[in-house]
Each structure stands twice: as C-alpha cells, then as structure tokens.
C-alpha cells in the first residue's frame, strides 16, 4: 500500500487536480443530462458525494477481505457493480421511509447514479492505486465533492446561458461539451499543486 500520501492530500487532489469528471471524463452522461438547473444539480451532486463516499469504503472491504484472500481480484468489476446497485437500492428505500423531504431532494436521484461510471471508476482507481481504508474513504468523498462542484458550476453556467444566443447546431449537448472542455482546461490550472497517481 502507498503509505506516503496523507489522506488530506488525496482528498484535495480528488477535488481539484484529479477531478474525476474533468480530468477523467467519468460520469459524463448525468453531468450533461442533469445540469440544466442549479437546484437539481445540487440534489444530484449531494447524492453522488454520499454514494461515492460509502461505496468506496464498502468496495474496499469487499476487495481486501473477500476478493484478495480468494484470489478473485479479476472479478472486481462485477462485484463492485453488484454492491453499488444493491447499496443504492437499499439507501433509496431507507431515505424514502425516514424523510419525505430528503427523498424529494435526494432520493429520486439515486436510481440515476447507480449506473454512473464515476462511481465504478472511483472504486477501480482506489484498487489500482492501492489506497488504504482511510485513504479510500477520503478519495471517494473528495471525488464526490469534485464531481458535485463540477456539475453545480456547469448548471450555473448553463442557467446563465439560457439568455445567450448559441448557434443552432451547437445548442444543447454540443455547447455543454464545449463548456465542459473549457472547465477542464481551467481545472488544469490546479495541476502541479498535488499529484496522487
């Protein structure tokens, strides 16, 4: 395991220099589809933070205590996906039960992110990079915050852009991709501050 890296370094790197969305372009589909309004983007962002933080830990446990001892690390893709899907399902039921408000603002987004590739991506990176348990948690949390930051800024930009005159052929997804590219360039300004790969 890579001991040298402090958890806070991983945490901040996951938000800024190694933003999962803007440097790895993972989680792009919901990023483009649900970034039309800041309010919905916030809801989805919160759901991603929550799910990423928990599933990275669950998958770390499953990987190191089930797959590694049994020599089954090649099965990590399918196991991670099953765990993420089951966990999201469970959380959705619980949220729906305990809080109407939380369900309305967060719960209905959960099914949307079960299949979000950023969630699986974080679990796979954590394995590839040999993070410890604590580091995995902070990596998941940081990636979630980074993803939320990106989608909320994107939604802010798109809300403002409703009034601007976008060339017809670029309206919608085309323009969104261009904005995402410019945002990625801006985030590259952070690189060099930290490096965790």
């Amino acid at each position: 395991m890579t001991e040298g890296i402090a958890f806070y370094a991983i945490f901040f790197a996951a938000i800024f220099t190694n933003n999962i969305l803007l440097t790895n372009y993972l989680g792009m589909c919901s990023f483009l589809a649900v970034s039309k309004e800041v309010k919905t983007a916030q809801g989805l962002g919160m759901a991603v933070i929550f799910v990423l933080a928990i599933t990275s830990v669950l998958n770390w446990l499953a990987y190191h205590y089930i797959l590694v001892p049994l020599n089954l690390t090649f099965l990590r893709f399918i196991v991670f996906i099953i765990i993420i899907a089951a966990f999201v399902q469970l959380i959705e039921m619980i949220i729906e039960r305990i809080s109407e408000k939380l369900y309305a603002s967060l719960g209905i987004f959960l099914p949307l992110i079960t299949v979000n590739c950023a969630i699986l991506g974080v679990s796979l990176f954590m394995v590839i990079r040999n993070y410890t348990f604590v580091n995995s948690f902070f990596y998941g949390l940081g990636s979630g915050i980074g993803w939320a930051l990106a989608i909320i800024s994107m939604a802010g930009i798109r809300e403002k852009m409703k009034k601007s005159r976008v060339p017809k052929g670029l309206a919608g997804a085309g323009m969104a991709l261009i904005i995402a590219g410019i945002m990625a360039l801006a985030f590259m300004g952070f690189s060099g501050m930290l490096n965790i790969t």
Binding site: T40, V79, I82, M93, E100, I108
Partner: protein, 366 residues
C-alpha cells in the same frame, strides 16, 4: 478448475447475501401496510401502501386519464389532493402551473401513497370503466385512416356524452415491451351503447397505429377504458360551426348523429379540411345527414386538389375557406378537432370574426 468454482461460488454468495438484504428491506423498510384512500369525501378504498397513486387507483378500477402510462412524461394524470402529503417532487413541477400549486393539484403517477390520503377527482371518472371488446370490423376509409368497430363483450354497455374519447390498450408486441395506452375519440353516438367506433389515422412508427394497421384483425380482443373528455355540445341555441381535419372527424360525427337522434335542429356548418380527394372520407354519410337535417351543411375543403380529382368544391387551407364562408361571429359556437396547428390557426380566424374565445371548444391531438 478450483479458481473457477471459487469464482462462481463467491459471486453467487455475494449476490445472494445482497439479495436477501434487499428482500428483507423491501418487506420491512419499504412496507407501509395498507392505506386508506378517500375519494371525494365519500368513497373509501383500501390499497397496499408504498405504490404510486395512479397504479393503486387503477387496481381499484378507477381510471385517471394518463397517456404515458405513469412515467411522468405526459402530465395528464392530475388530481386534487386534500390531505397534507408533503412538498411537490421535482418530477411533478414541470407540469404544474402556479394556479394548480395553490389548489394542491398533484401528478398521481409520481405520488407514492404511504399514509391515508384524501383526494378529489371529477365525478364522471367514476363512470370510467375498463371494457373488453372484440373487433367487429376494420375498414379502410382512406389510404391512411381506418375505421375500427369494437363490440363490447358480454353485452356490456358504455354510457357517454357525444364527443368523448376512450383509451385503447396496445398489448405488448414487437414495438413495445409493456402495454401502452393511446386516446381516441369515439365516432359512434351514445345510443350505440354496445359498440365503439374509432377512426384511426396511421402515424408512421406510432406504437398504437402500427399495431392497429399491421396486427389487428376482425375477431381480436381489445381492452379499452373510458369514457373521458370535456368536448361536448353545449346546451344553447347558437349556430354551430364544426371544424375538423383528418381523424378529427370522429367526435364531430358522434355529435352530429347524437343531434339527429335527439332532434336538435340548430343551424350547423361543418368545415372539413383535407389535402386531396383521396384524403376525404364518410362524405356520403355527411351528404345523407344534410338531407335529414333542416339546417346542416357539410363543407369539405381541399388544400391541394390533384388534377384528376376534378374538384368543384371549396379549395384552400381550412382557415381561408372558413374566412370566406363565415360572415360574422355573431351568435356562433365553434367546435374544433384536429392537429394543434390547424386548431390554433382556426381559433385566430374565429376570434377575428368576433366569436368569443369561451365559445370555441376544441379537442387537440398531436
């Protein structure tokens, strides 16, 4: 071999473990017991909790109109909720006007019933029932419009006002993995209690129309539910202007035959828009009606008559023909059925002539 077995075993083990957790959670956390739905302060039904209101009501054979089948994409299944059930869901908001929010109108397909709830629905929806029917005949009225006659099975009877529509259940077939519902106006008049006549126009790749045109045969069973709709002749003495295009013929035909049977002898003119002669249908029936009524005129208008049509009647867009034939909007009530474009353009002409907007009734289909 060993690794293979361990792999399969591990996946099965993990999946089973998680499945058990989900099943347990489903029957404990997601189990809301039975809840009571009070309808119009009068009728009470008990339904299992945790399911969407629309589906729960449908199981109780109370049919709220819905075109998308509960996916929250048509915005039709609105109803008024009188008890407190929390804030609007983000999936409901796009369909709600400020006025509706004040009245606590909700989208019933998105609402999950978790506790006792009191709702208000229009009385006539109680009249809405599901009917099993048999296809009696399928006739090509034009190259793209079919007349479908369905007979209600077991001599059931449907009670409705002329101009109403039903929903046609398309069973699963190669274009759809689950049943879908599409709305069609009834062309038959209310006195034909035992059958329903529809006029269905082929929409390329339409889920329902493809089914009707390519799969449906005489003798097949079809499930419908209804009647629905607010498109009815009002009870006044004003002169009537009917305007329809294509399969918009259906509700107007129903209203006309109903008027004939009830001896309603108001002055009526019926403008029917089509492209060419090959798009006209039921012209003989309409000519027959002209003889039976003292004061009814059927005015078909062709926008692009073909040379071989030898068309002697009105030509031009329906709006132009309407403009030429209608001197003033005094004492006039208008009933429109057709595409949104045609309806909007006709409303503009009518209001221009002085017909008040509240006397223009229409049934738009997309």
């Amino acid at each position: 071999m060993g690794a293979f077995l361990i792999g399969v075993g591990a996946i099965c083990g993990i999946s089973t473990f998680l499945a058990v957790i989900i099943v347990v959670a489903d029957s404990t956390i997601a189990n809301y017991g039975d809840v009571k739905v009070t309808i119009n302060d009068d009728k009470e039904v008990i339904v299992p909790g945790g399911r969407p209101l629309l589906a729960s009501l449908m199981e109780q054979k109370i049919f709220i109109p819905s075109a998308c089948g509960g996916k929250g994409s048509c915005g039709l299944c609105k109803l008024k909720v009188k008890s407190d059930i929390g804030d609007y869901l983000p999936t409901e908001l796009p369909w709600m006007s400020e006025d509706e929010k004040k009245q606590n109108i909700r989208l019933s397909c998105q609402l999950k019933v978790k506790k006792d709830i009191s709702i208000q629905i229009p009385e006539e929806l109680f009249n809405v029932k599901e009917y099993l029917t048999e296809v009696v005949s399928l006739v090509d009225l034009t190259y793209d419009i079919k007349q479908v006659i369905l007979r209600l099975i077991e001599s059931a009877e449907i009670t409705f006002r002329a101009g109403a529509y039903i929903q046609f259940e398309v069973p699963e077939y190669e274009l759809t993995p689950e049943p879908v519902y599409r709305a069609y106006s009834m062309a038959s008049q209310p006195s034909r209690k035992n059958e329903v006549e529809l006029e269905i126009r082929l929409v390329p790749n339409g889920l329902c129309t493809t089914y009707v045109f390519e799969h449906l045969k005489a003798g097949d069973r079809v499930t419908i539910n209804g009647p629905y709709g607010e498109f009815h002749l009002s009870d006044t003495d004003k002169d009537i202007v009917f305007i329809a295009g294509s399969s918009g013929m259906a509700p107007i035909k129903s209203i006309l035959y109903d008027m004939l049977e009830k001896n309603i002898d108001r002055r009526a003119r019926y403008f029917f828009g089509a492209r060419a002669v090959r798009d006209l249908f039921l012209v003989d029936e309409m000519k027959e009606l002209e003889k039976k009524f003292r004061n009814f005129k059927f005015i078909p208008a062709l926008s692009e008559p073909l040379p071989e049509d030898n068309w002697m009647g009105e030509t031009g867009l329906i709006t132009e023909v309407l403009d030429r034939n209608l001197d003033s909007g005094d004492n006039i009530e208008a009933y429109l059925c057709g595409s949104p474009g045609m309806i909007d353009a006709s409303i503009a002409v009518l209001t221009n002539k002085g017909v008040p907007e509240e006397l223009i009734y229409y049934d738009k289909f997309a």
